[in-house]
Symmetry: C2
Subunit: 415 residues, 2 copies
């Protein structure tokens, strides 16, 4: 049920709008902000003068090209790096990494460590996460009070409210309420995000021309994940992070999937599935725990060299991904796709079968026009997305308080 707009919400929302405009544009002048937001110059002037007074924005040198033009030069507005800081925690298979990022988006400090997520106890896993955050917060160079938010990205399913990990392939434990744990421990607001969703957000910031309102980010790694942006908003399930593309059914009663079920897309296109098929172990073979990136690269090299089981394994992966995408396109219409992860480096081996499969589906009519991009390294993307996510929260909640708390319609912007 939507709710009325109160008078004081107005300023809050427009403040948030101005901050968002500065974050997107880098160093826009007041005039540019007025143009992009549609608000009047006087309003922008008032709001930005407030924000500068509060230490959220700073005036910087006029933008470059300005020196050639006549008239009063534009004054660029930029985010004050010291206004706040956020922390990102990325938890993936056997790997934990954390970074502190200033309000302008620059990394201040970071730390990474390997750990054995699959065998760790629940408490040990939580302990590692809390510990690594604590060490960063104890950094003498860092003003602890400035850390306004923690965003934890995890491979796996999270709940809609971004409070907990519900299930993850990296650990046997389920339902870990990381957000509550971190908030209780440090008194800093925290959220738990799905890794592929963060990839999507990062892609949007990196290349807003290509990844604007509708696009798909697919993680081709040990498992298959997806981040989906539709109509400018991150798509999530009704109760969880959703978008479990890897567990759409490719072949009823087909190959054994890591999730215990049969015939999922992942059971053909995940690293373990490609490995299994390349080694000709049969579709019922228990998925191996992990395949190293080096092994996957070797597999791809072998597949490129001669037509053998390796090549066939990639073909099957392409077919599964193609039919899966075809079904997805039946629901949402075709959109640009980013293939991310180690197997994205082998996309040349996957693409032919994938395109052939898509051509057999409802999305097939535009098969040729569907564009794929590849990015072999998912970790930097996840980190960036996480950082932008956290910063956007700070923008909207801390510096424009209340704008979100009311109306159900507001503030669904992706990062």
């Amino acid at each position: 049920m939507s709710v009325g707009i109160r008078h004081d919400d107005l300023r809050r929302r427009n403040r948030a709008m101005v901050i968002a405009a500065v974050r997107r544009a880098g160093q826009p002048s007041r005039t540019e902000i007025a143009a992009t937001t549609g608000l009047s110059h006087s309003t922008i002037s008032a709001i930005s003068s407030d924000l500068i007074g509060e230490g959220i924005l700073t005036e910087s040198k006029p933008s470059e090209a300005g020196s050639l033009r006549r008239g009063r030069p534009q004054v660029g507005l930029s985010l004050n790096p010291e206004a706040a800081a956020v922390m990102t925690v990325v938890l993936s298979l056997n790997f934990l990494s954390v970074a502190v990022i200033d309000y302008a988006g620059q990394v201040i400090s970071e730390e990474q460590r390997r750990l054995d997520t699959q065998t760790m106890s629940r408490d040990a896993l939580i302990g590692e996460c809390v510990g690594i955050v604590r060490r960063r917060l104890e950094d003498p160079d860092l003003d602890v009070r400035s850390v306004a938010r923690i965003a934890l990205a995890i491979q796996g399913i999270t709940d809609t409210h971004a409070r907990a990990m519900l299930w993850s392939p990296i650990t046997p434990h389920t339902d870990i309420a990381f957000a509550d744990i971190l908030e209780d421990e440090f008194g800093i607001p925290a959220t738990v995000e799905n890794d592929c969703n963060m990839m999507a957000i990062a892609l949007r910031w990196r290349d807003p021309d290509r990844y604007r309102d509708d696009f798909i980010a697919i993680l081709l790694s040990h498992g298959i994940g997806m981040g989906l942006v539709l109509k400018g908003e991150l798509f999530t399930g009704t109760h969880s992070s959703g978008g479990e593309f890897g567990h759409m059914i490719h072949q009823p009663n087909g190959a054994l999937c890591r999730c215990g079920r049969r015939g999922c897309v992942e059971a053909y296109a995940g690293n373990y599935a490609i490995w299994r098929n390349a080694r000709q172990l049969g579709e019922d073979a228990e998925p191996v725990a992990d395949v190293s990136d080096a092994d996957m690269r070797a597999l791809a090299t072998a597949a490129r060299e001669k037509d053998g089981p390796e090549r066939e394994a990639y073909r099957k992966a392409g077919e599964a991904l193609g039919y899966g995408l075809g079904s997805l396109f039946a629901l949402i219409d075709p959109a640009p796709v980013a293939m991310v992860g180690v197997s994205a480096a082998a996309f040349d081996l996957i693409e032919p079968a994938l395109r052939e499969a898509i051509a057999q589906t409802a999305g097939g009519q535009h098969s040729k026009s569907i564009s794929f991009d590849t990015e072999p390294n998912e970790l930097p993307l996840i980190r960036e997305g996480c950082a932008m996510r956290a910063l956007t929260f700070v923008d909207q909640e801390i510096f424009a308080p209340g704008a979100q708390a009311r109306g159900s319609v507001v503030g669904k912007n992706v990062a």
Copy 2:
């Protein structure tokens, strides 16, 4: 890119909010409206007095229970039926129906006719639609000027902007810009909507407790269609009405579908597919043009009587629907489902295989808790949904002008 909120948008949006509250609640008092919208009593008082002055709302008798209570009795506000009227046109296989509906939602007049949509020329089809609308508009009892909008619902794919039918199984012709045609002819704003989306909207109005923020309406008819409401908003594709559940892939390279491709869910669960399997014609048999409702009912009766090819046909349909829903649930999480259309009357034959299939999928963990409801008659639903759609447009655009025109975030409410 979202846009700032201007000062004059405020009143417009809150006016729209008040109108919406009255439409939903029936005869709410000003106090109730204040409670549901979160606005102050003074604001509601001012807005409703404006709306009454403009003839949009009327004061009606105090609500029933009020007479027993102490204090000044509440005055119910209701929609003025004469404030406007809308027209719905429903075009389905071999059938055209039109209705004029007053602002309060009551049918004023209607007309229906059979026609052979599959063989008609493009011009004849358009001519029939224009003609039936013209006849209604010429009704002497009707004040033509009051018709504020026409909504045309069609079985098939429409574009995102609700301007045109892109493709439909009921006619070989494609890309018919019905909205432009009707607007040019009658000078009344028109939209073109997907039939299953209208079903979803109608279900929401009929039973807002069950069908609130997240649910699925599936049409089991000659073809398989879907209307999807997620997070309170109608889900559409990026370029079309989308949600082509019937053309998700159930079995790669499987049974021949009416769309010319293979293995779609519809190729197992559409009327023609059930018919084909029951008659044991093989999966490559050309889909028949139409199967009468009577024939389908006979098929269901036969299936209930003995275990033969008819029962097996329904089992296969259930399996395809189950795996399809499983894949859908992987993306959006499970949600309540309404099965609509003639085969919904045979849901007892479909359900066992359907539930078994879902249990094999990612949604399967909650298999038992997924609830299905059935409604054998789709036409009334489509009509109702269409009417509510058109009325909501009038509410938002005519009586609260500008509220939509700006911000990209606003007014995405379903019906």
